[in-house]
């Protein structure tokens, strides 16, 4: 008899494999999406490069470019993980397959973990491709960068975004039409308060309070300090522990909220095909 671990591994692989095949099947969309994101990242990089001409002052252009590109690329990476979970729930609602997924003898944690496993791998590859292309346009000075520190921050940040994505995936589960738009609103708020392109100190005080709750704030601070200043993992601890705490809260909270939403849908009959 196949052990529980083997069964769960097979199910995680099944969800990851399905996501991979869907990416292949919608390759044109993927190319368009990557090109659009790349154009955005490059535009932001050039914005940094143009500051000196615009302001007429001797700004540290290299530092500014790396600062902006770190924000842009990291946000792209985290947003994909965040988006992928709620997107697949919307998709399953539209296709009507959510009923068959929920009928399968697979726990919700295994289901979500399978989707997230693919999202992390996909987002890493996508970001690496974009970084390689961006590096051709800008002479990025990474001499001081502590890549190990950046990797640790990124790895820990994944959990927070998986948790956040699971919480937000409740929206399309309950309403595929309105849920996707609501996911966009949550993403927009995170973009605004997390200091993707600026230091959060420029935000109004009340917005700074909100930014303290966003895992992206700590992820960005940690990545920038690792890549721009070469901070070690020990020095980065003051951003790593909040990410661990937020992740430790958000992952179980996400599963709990999703579980409650699933029960609500099963009570109200909202799992029926809707599209």
């Amino acid at each position: 008899m196949m052990s529980l671990v083997m069964r769960r591994t097979a199910a995680i692989y099944a969800f990851a494999e399905r996501q991979f095949i869907l990416t292949k099947r919608y390759m044109v969309w993927e190319i368009v999406y990557v090109l659009y994101s790349l154009a955005n990242v490059l535009a932001i990089g050039f914005m940094g490069a143009g500051v000196q001409n615009l302001m007429g002052s001797k700004a540290n252009t290299q530092h500014l470019i790396l600062y902006l590109l770190t924000g842009s690329l990291l946000w792209g990476y985290l947003a994909v993980i965040f988006w992928e979970i709620s997107n697949i729930i919307s998709w399953e609602r539209w296709e009507g397959t959510i009923e068959y997924t929920f009928m399968a003898p697979v726990s919700r944690a295994t289901h979500i973990f399978g989707v997230c496993t693919y999202a992390v791998i996909y987002s890493l590859i996508r970001t690496a491709i974009m970084l390689a292309i961006v590096a051709l346009f800008f002479h990025l000075d990474m001499a001081k960068a502590n890549l190990w520190g950046a990797f640790v921050v990124l790895s820990v940040a994944n959990f927070s975004f998986i948790g956040l994505g699971t919480v937000v995936a409740v929206l399309p589960l309950i309403s595929p039409e309105k849920g996707s738009q609501m996911t966009g609103i949550v993403e927009g708020v995170l973009l605004l308060v997390s200091g993707i392109y600026y230091d959060i100190s420029v935000l109004p005080h009340w917005m700074q309070s909100i930014s303290m709750l966003s895992p992206a704030t700590y992820a960005l601070q940690g990545m920038r300090r690792a890549l721009l200043n070469g901070d070690s993992v020990t020095q980065l601890w003051n951003v790593i522990w909040p990410l661990i705490v937020i992740g430790a809260i958000l992952v179980p909270l996400g599963l709990f909220v999703f579980g409650k939403a699933e029960v609500y849908c099963k009570k109200t009959g909202k799992l029926k095909r809707n599209g």
Partner: protein, 297 residues
């Protein structure tokens, strides 16, 4: 016709490991009520009232339903649109939580032991839901993996089931959106049988199929009954289908079971002069043919 290489029932059933005397399905006092938008067309909100939530009314879709299905039985639930057939199937499938009552699959409570029940049953609905850009094989292998079925075993079963459904294996690599409605439904049936279910829930499996596909699916269900000893709960509003395929039939009307008997028993009791199941249906559904047509029959 030669015996199938694989019997399309679970190992516990085919090897006789399932305790004898255990009912395949027991439904006791199942009730489900939904809140629906009020259908009173004469009341049109105006002004600020338009912004307020719409008035809701309670609609009892399944009302104190009780019946049982024996292992190896094909049990039909016949009823007009909106009579509660699909809701009943969804409750047994663990996709809906009832307000009251109990549903047990081979002794396992659907609400208390959903994971155990999920391993025992499969469902085919009128609306075959798949990832449309994925091929039939990709969709089927995905299901097999979720049920921890090795790929080699899954492929063997898929080919064998499709052969019995008279569908060419060449179509397996075709994306679902390029398959006809009939072929999609055959793939849906294959998906249900990959796991060798103890109990198969067929929710209007032939609705919307062309006559040829309909006959092929019906032939397959008949074979399941005769060759595999599968236990099937079949909902339909096709009287001929119910009569040919079902050992017993329950007539569901407005969420309530109004009669349960064998097809011949029902015809004897309610068939009147014509003695047809159609007459039974109209008598027990409490509607005329015209009214049913208005409902979308």
């Amino acid at each position: 016709m030669s015996e199938p290489a694989i019997r399309l029932v679970s190992d516990e059933i085919s090897t006789g490991e399932r305790p004898s005397g255990l009912l395949a399905l027991e439904i006791e006092g199942l009730t489900k009520t939904f809140r629906k938008d009020s259908k009173d067309k004469n009341v049109k909100p105006s002004g600020i009232r338009k912004l307020l939530p719409k008035a809701k009314t309670l609609s009892r879709v399944v009302d104190s339903v009780s019946f049982s299905v024996k292992p190896g039985e094909v049990f039909g639930v016949l009823g007009p649109n909106g009579s509660g057939k699909s809701t009943l199937i969804r409750i047994i499938s663990t996709l809906l939580l009832p307000d009251e009552g109990v549903a047990r699959v081979f002794g396992h409570d659907v609400m208390k032991e959903p994971d155990t029940v999920r391993r025992m049953l499969s469902r085919v609905s009128a609306d075959a839901a798949f990832f449309r850009r994925l091929s039939a094989m990709e969709n089927l292998i995905h299901t097999a993996r979720l049920y921890s079925i090795p790929q080699k075993t899954a492929i063997e079963r898929i080919k064998m089931i499709l052969e019995r459904l008279e569908m060419s294996g060449e179509k397996l690599e075709t994306p679902m959106l390029h398959l006809s409605r009939g072929m999609q439904q055959k793939v849906a049936i294959t998906r249900a049988f990959i796991i060798l279910p103890d109990l198969l829930l067929l929710d209007e499996p032939t609705t919307g199929l062309d006559p040829k596909s309909k006959r092929e699916v019906q032939k397959f269900i008949r074979e399941l009954k005769e060759r595999d000893g599968s236990t099937v709960l079949l909902t339909t509003h096709d009287m001929e289908e119910a009569e040919v395929l079902c050992d017993r039939i329950a007539i569901l009307n407005s969420g309530k079971i109004v009669a349960i008997d064998t097809p011949s028993g029902l015809k004897e009791r309610y068939g009147g002069e014509s003695g047809s199941l159609e007459t039974v249906f109209f008598a027990l559904a409490g509607k005329t043919l015209e009214e049913l047509e208005e409902d979308g029959e």
